[in-house]
């Protein structure tokens, strides 16, 4: 069948018309093979232009269209729709970019006209070989898995939970709430953290569409966007969740004492415990690693003490399989270990704390029930707050966590509230107080000159040594003067970094991990919550350091991305121009498998050939160029189409 091509050349006001001799171009295009007509038009992207093309397609019974106009990035989409409306396949269109890549970059009209001809000739040669493609659709699951029940995960889960959509909120710890649950007051309003968190935690626990799986971890993820199969290990709690009311009778009698990780190791807990007062769900849990019974001893103190018969030593881990359409990873952050930089004295000098430890020290649910005390149980008289520990330095982490300056202001305020006479010094080299609130908050807290600020020469021009049971800070200030000062408490603000087990998490989901252990986003500017894997999103501090408000926003953003694409009962639309393999001709050399960034290629052992999962393939074409047998086809970018385009570009005669 001979093709009937219409060529339409946009004048784009004076933009193209003045730079290129359009009469000549029209004359040239008219005579090319398969071209039925070539016409200039004032503004093709206007409503009139679109109607004009539509009419032309029908009147002249066109089978393909070339539009010579602005960049395909501008209006390819617009014109594809016009074709579709006129009954043509949208892929029967090719655009010759004669504005951005010709009219606007060539001064000489003769040269511009020549170049336009070449570009149009290439488009005509290519369009003849273009094949109709249809948007593919697959059945999909609308249920979603959210990993990590911190503030970002909770926000995502609440946004997603709706009729006909189940959300599985998986948390590896026994309780939900993440880091925020360990804080006392929140920036900027100094609202108490539990006032903010408790209501939404309750909502999550009572929402019928949300399944909270605490003490659980994902072991395996198979499948792709729309259809993931996820294996979850639910660790045994050894406490019956239905009958336990969290009364605490069990841990009062437990004879074992271990480091309490919920208080950052500042005190001890029992082997059967509730993470902290008010932790949700309010259920006890047995720490198998330390419980005597699981270490060969015959203790059953908790079982005997429990008034509800809730203790069950025989409980076992269970494996659950979930089917979900999308996954949000909100596994949070950890602090950079300041022990790695010995000069801060962390771990060797008494009363040198990290910021998270300080949060627990001033928390009413912490080891001192909120009393600010030194190890010797006396209140501190002088506190040093040290900014940028392990951050903004080439040796450890180059990035700025962006929240430390703000929370150190909060600490100064909290310490002053508790101990009005305490002297506070902040050691900083630059202050980072971005956004609407931070500077205002900082101004308020530091307005009465009660806090001393010492500006350092650089973020790390300071060390801390022990002197007479106190911490001696030796520093070089911004005037290059070396000085010292003594404190009885030091609070370090270490860099926020990716969670300690982030590498394991990245491997389970096959997503990319970037700087400082955070998960990489697809695009920092445009796709901040998309991971490198289609259908897997990252939110909150797992993606990068940020404050609570930004974590919530990312949780909700990731949820929004999913809501807009995974609609219950509807199919999922996929990219049309992907790659296709002729399995019959594939020699099974497997060259392509290693090249695919999306695990879209699998080797069929029985048939000895490779097949492409069209859902995972994104159509980059790297495998196509590498296939020694030439049996992979990149749809809309086939070898024939490309060759023909190259011919058109070079082989035309004007």
């Amino acid at each position: 069948m001979t093709e009937r091509i219409g060529v339409y050349i946009c004048e784009c006001g004076p933009n193209i018309k003045d730079a290129i001799d359009l009469d000549e171009v029209v004359k040239f295009a008219k005579d090319l093979e398969d071209v039925v007509l070539a016409r200039p038009f004032g503004l093709l992207c206007s409503q009139e232009g679109k109607t004009f093309i539509e009419k032309e397609i029908q009147e002249h019974n066109l089978s393909r269209v070339v539009i010579a106009a602005c960049s395909p990035k501008e209006h390819e989409h617009t014109f594809r729709k016009v074709l579709e409306k006129s009954g043509l396949n949208p892929f029967a269109l090719q655009i010759a970019n004669i504005r951005e890549q010709c009219a606007w970059v060539t001064n000489d009209k003769v040269l511009a006209t020549e170049k336009a001809k070449a570009l149009i000739s290439a488009a005509i040669r290519r369009v003849v070989l273009q094949e109709p493609l249809t948007e593919r659709q697959i059945e999909c699951q609308s249920d979603v898995l959210v990993v990590g029940a911190g503030i970002a995960g909770i926000s995502a889960a609440l946004t997603l939970a709706q009729k006909e959509r189940k959300v599985y909120l998986v948390e590896k710890l026994p309780s939900i709430g993440g880091k925020v649950a360990r804080y006392e007051d929140l920036f900027p309003s100094l609202e108490c953290a539990s006032c903010v968190l408790d209501p939404i935690q309750d909502e999550v626990l009572h929402n019928e569409q949300i399944d909270v799986l605490a003490l659980s971890e994902i072991e395996e993820v198979l499948g792709y966007y729309g259809n993931f199969i996820v294996k979850v290990r639910k660790r045994a709690r050894f406490v019956d969740v239905c009958s336990c009311i969290g009364c605490g009778a069990c841990f009062e009698v437990c004879p074992v004492k271990v480091r309490n990780e919920y208080n950052e190791g500042l005190d001890e807990r029992k082997a059967v415990y509730i993470p902290y007062p008010g932790s949700l769900p309010n259920l006890a849990v047995i720490d198998k690693e330390h419980c005597l019974r699981f270490n060969g001893k015959a203790c059953s103190a908790c079982q005997e003490a429990c008034p509800f018969g809730s203790i069950n030593y025989g409980e076992e881990d269970t494996i659950e399989e979930l089917k979900v359409g999308a996954i949000i990873i909100a596994t949070g952050f950890d602090l950079f270990d300041p022990g790695k930089v010995p000069k801060y004295g962390y771990g060797t000098i008494e009363n040198v704390y990290t910021s998270l430890e300080f949060e627990r020290l001033i928390s009413s649910t912490g080891p001192t029930e909120g009393k600010l005390l030194l190890k010797n149980s006396k209140p501190p008289e002088k506190i040093a707050l040290v900014h940028c520990v392990g951050s903004r330095s080439m040796e450890s982490n180059e990035h700025c966590s962006g929240v430390c300056c703000t929370y150190l202001s909060k600490f100064a305020h909290q310490a002053k509230e508790k101990l009005p006479d305490v002297e506070i010094t902040q050691f900083f080299s630059d202050l980072c107080l971005p956004g609407k609130e931070a500077q205002v908050f900082f101004n308020k807290v530091s307005s009465n000159n009660e806090i001393e600020f010492i500006r350092l020469k650089s973020p790390d021009s300071l060390d801390i040594i022990e002197q007479g049971g106190k911490a001696l800070v030796r520093y070089t200030d911004v005037y290059e003067e070396p000085k010292t000062a003594q404190y009885d408490m030091v609070v370090l603000a270490p860099a926020m970094v990716g969670a300690t087990d982030a590498a394991r998490v990245a491997a389970v989901y096959d997503i990319a991990q970037g700087k400082a252990g955070f998960f990489s986003e697809e695009d920092t500017t445009l796709y901040p919550v998309a991971s490198s894997m289609e259908g897997i999103f990252v939110a909150g501090c797992a993606q990068g350091p940020k404050d609570i408000g930004a974590s919530v926003a990312q949780g909700q953003a990731a949820a929004g991305k999913i809501l807009s694409r995974l609609v219950p009962g509807e199919k999922l639309a996929l990219e049309a121009a992907v790659c296709e393999i002729d399995e019959g001709l594939c020699s099974g050399c497997k060259t392509c498998i290693g090249l695919c960034s999306y695990n879209a290629m699998t080797f069929d052992d029985k048939e000895k050939c490779v097949s492409i999962n069209e859902v995972l393939c994104r159509g980059c074409g790297t495998c196509v160029a590498a296939c020694p047998s030439g049996v992979i086809k990149a749809k809309h970018f086939t070898d024939r189409q490309m060759f023909s385009e190259i011919e058109g570009l070079l082989r035309y005669s004007s």
Binding site: K73, A122, S532, S597, A625, M642, F643, L649
Partner: protein, 134 residues
């Protein structure tokens, strides 16, 4: 010989380099009309045959322009392109095609100056070399 104008074909990836070329246009940065772009989704799609085909059809110079390392929209397509480029360059020399006639570079969507610069330099150096088929 003096008025020889080379034909340069560039394979530009859709996400960065084609955008970069468009950005040069939007900024009205003038560059030699000798350069003509062919869009591919990713430089990883550039089959060595495309390059050979372009030379065969009369190109005097061929360029592959892609996202900067680490920025490829498909993660590592540009890395494959780089590997192929290294080999293909050597092969082309065996066929009498000077190394300077075939170039790979990284152009981000914002690199309009760099785009104009590499295209101009390429055109100049190929002009110096003269036509491929003299």
């Amino acid at each position: 010989m003096n008025d020889f104008e080379p034909k340069i074909v560039g394979f530009l990836c859709n996400w960065c380099s084609y955008e970069g070329a468009d950005a040069a246009g939007r900024a009205r940065k003038v560059y030699p009309a000798n350069f003509r772009a062919v869009k591919v989704m990713c430089t990883g799609r550039v089959d060595p045959q495309f390059v050979i085909k372009a030379f065969r059809e009369g190109a005097d110079g061929v360029m592959i322009l892609g996202c900067h390392p680490g920025d490829c929209h498909y993660k590592e397509g540009n890395f494959q392109a780089l590997k192929r480029y290294a080999v293909l360059r050597k092969v082309l020399v065996q066929f009498g095609i000077d190394e300077e006639r075939f170039r790979l570079d990284w152009i981000s969507a914002g690199d309009k100056e760099k785009f104009v610069d590499v295209v101009t330099k390429m055109t100049d150096s190929v002009r110096q070399l003269g036509p491929l088929r003299g």
